[in-house]
Amino acid sequence: MVDKARFRFTEIEPQLGALSTLPYLPVTLTYQNCSLSASGLLDTGSSVNVLPYEMGLRLGAIWERQTLSVPLGGNLARFEARALVLRANIERFPPVDLAFAWTRDRNAPLILGHMNFFLEFDVCFYRAELLFEISPKRRG
């Protein structure tokens, strides 16, 4: 079994080069029988995972059927959010369930935060080398 995977930071502004790099993780999200590939920002400051509205729709999720309301802070507080649990495949790791605050904000990025991405994976950042490494949590 693969226990670690390394990824390069992603350059956001080519003109700024390494100054604009961020840790985006390629992930395949699945809801029921529908999947999509995306890049999620690893955000150690975020309490929760955040799913943009359009992405939820593309996965076939129906807003009205999600019953748990999620109270977000900051600018995201202006938009309603509901809990949505998705299956996530990362590299060749075993798939995990990730719970997202599915926000109606169409401009929100896909965020991977503490609840529960960082509960499922350990992450090491090697920012000077523009690399990060993730491994699934050890199950005892």
Binding site: D43, G45, S46, S47, V48, N49, V50, L68, S69, V70, P71, L72, G73, G74, N75, L76, A81, A83, L84, V85, D97, A99, F100, A101, D105, N107, A108, P109, I111, G113, H114, M115, N116
Partner: protein
């Protein structure tokens, strides 16, 4: 489709749709130029889900419910 073919159709659009089309074209031009619209400026940096501990508790509940559904 050529613009000449499109124009007659555009003329037939209702007023509201013409305004929406104008908005769409402006958005496209801004995006192609790499310019962030005024209403979106500062949005990314201030968009956050920090200190949303209550939200984290709700997601924990959602995961438990999902687990119960899957495993009974």
């Amino acid at each position: 489709m050529q613009l000449a073919e499109l124009l007659p159709h555009l003329k037939d659009l209702p007023h509201a749709d013409k305004l929406l089309l104008l908005h769409f074209i402006i958005s496209e031009l801004l995006q192609e130029s790499g310019i962030i619209p005024l209403e979106d400026q500062g949005k990314v940096s201030s968009t956050n889900s920090y200190n949303s501990f209550e939200a984290a508790a709700v997601l924990a509940q959602a995961l438990l419910e999902e687990k119960a559904v899957k495993h009974g």
